[in-house]
Subunit: 298 residues, 2 copies
DNA sequence: TAAAAATACTCCATAGGTATTTTAT
DNA sequence: ATAAAATACCTATGGAGTATTTTTA
């Protein structure tokens, strides 16, 4: 059986006339009669009662007509859906994000995406660590990750979004809060609050490497899983923290921020995807993401 | 586009290999590649990413596969449903019934039909008048009517089920209740309770005609729409009634029944259908109905 | 270089057309 | 008597087969 048979049957059933149905189908009547007959033979069911005066549906034919309408509509709808997905106008996309971008870039991005791609069903997961983001990407749990290099995996494709200057988060009234800018060496005596995950958290490792590069071993006092908690700890006077500059968008009472001096006082932010993911919605999403970054979205 | 394309696409998408898919479809690989290509061209969407090493679904292809599975399943299901309807195993059937059979034959029939044809969705409407039953049949509101002739309509097909003897419903303690049997002439002085609908109710007209045949004008005192009400009125001593013998199945406290003597003291019960109704479920239903009647169902 | 998809071509099955007959009202 | 579906027969499109080339991992 082919869709042709269903289309022909629908035409005859609706016209209740082989001749008119043939006109509607832009074909001659005899082949139409033949195809309808074939359909009935293949089904083993009489769908139409014909006489020279009228064509009527049998009970089985009437039920079949209803099904056929649904099937033909479903065929069209399937093609249209494929089109929309192909154009990136429809789809489902899960975005994962490291902790230090969860409160800066992610909200702005989410807003822009919902605006620009209303047909795409977005979900967001913040406060993830880079290795977990990589796993989630590979396994298909997420489709796009905002993370901090390095990340070396041939299955994943990485594009640098921007370099983020590091700043120092200080409790208000802290001795360093009176400075215009802070040097790394100033932090030697300070207790630090850092993102948890030694060896798995890029921020943790970056902070430790920076301090060691400045000639001292950092005094890591508190490790927290979430960026908002980190700033809250600083505000509570539990220590100071190094965070990417956009985190300053997180205004927490009792915490203030100062620029950090130093050539290496930067961390990268990148977008990662599966290298073989050709979803158009993803391409569109990356366009929106890069436009947001170019427009200076925090 | 034809179902062939959908079947081929499903095979390739599931095998993720044109060669294996071609085997599964019992065809050669090149025409399979061609048909998939045609499908993609017609849709204007790339469904599969091919390389010599692997075949993968695009996002659009993945969504399309899901739709295609549903469509192909729906095609099969439509054929199977048509088959079941053709065999009379499935369908929807509304049965209408005159008042004087509503409490006798109809309940027994309903029970038998639900038992014998569980796949058919039956609905029953009792206490209808013959002209209304005829209209409902013609308009398709009901598919089968249990009614009392005469009924002359070329669009309707009638088959006599049985002749029902008339009996007299009497209040207990009525002077005629002591008789073994009652003659029509005995009713001359009695007030009658009859089915409402002069000229439309076969029972009403039959009662009047019988009395006139016996040489007197009946004293119609109460007209009721429902058979159960009629017997209840009799039980309450409001009058006596002539009813078909199976109505005696309605046991109402205070009412009793006696045979009626007389050659014409009978009414027919027939089954009516649309003459052009070829629903197999209806044919099956008529078989069950006739079996019930033959088995002496009240 | 080897496995697999794509291309080139050939063939024939069958969808669809034309002419005609049958049928039912 | 006539309109309409069915039948008979023919044509040619295009689906499927075989042989071969191209591609990429």
């Amino acid at each position: 059986m082919e869709l042709r048979h269903l289309r022909y049957f629908q035409a005859v059933a609706e016209e209740r006339h082989f001749g008119r149905a043939a006109d509607r189908l832009h074909m001659a009547q005899p082949p139409l009669s033949q195809q309808i007959r074939r359909l009935e033979e293949e089904l083993g069911v009489t769908l139409l009662r014909r006489s020279t005066r009228k064509v009527e549906l049998t009970a089985a034919g009437d039920a079949y007509l209803g099904r056929v309408r649904g099937i033909l509509a479903a065929v069209d709808e399937a093609g249209e859906e494929a089109h929309r997905i192909d154009a990136g106008l429809e789809g489902r996309l899960v975005v994962g994000c490291v902790g230090s971008a969860t409160y800066s870039l992610l909200p702005a991005l989410a807003r822009a995406l919902r605006e620009e791609l209303p047909g795409v069903d977005f979900a967001f997961r913040g406060e993830m660590l880079v290795p977990d983001l990589a796993d989630a990407l590979r396994s298909g749990v997420i489709d796009l990750a905002l993370l901090r290099p390095p990340l070396d995996d041939a299955a994943l494709s990485l594009r640098l979004l921007r370099r983020e200057r590091l700043i120092v988060a200080l409790p208000e009234g802290h001795r360093l809060a009176s400075r215009e800018r802070v040097r790394l060496a100033d932090l030697e005596q300070e207790e630090l609050v850092v993102h948890a995950g030694r060896g798995r958290s890029v921020m943790y490792d970056a902070v430790v490497q920076l301090c060691r590069g400045a000639g001292f071993e950092p005094r890591v006092r508190h490790e927290v899983a979430e960026t908002s908690t980190l700033v809250t700890f600083v505000a509570a006077g539990l220590g100071v923290a190094l965070v990417p500059e956009p985190v300053a968008a997180l205004g927490v009472a009792g915490a203030t921020y100062r620029p950090l001096v130093g050539r290496h006082a930067r961390v990268d932010l990148a977008a990662a995807t599966r290298a073989d993911d050709d979803a158009a919605a993803l391409a569109r999403t990356l366009e929106v993401l890069e436009a947001q970054v170019a427009a200076g979205a925090r």
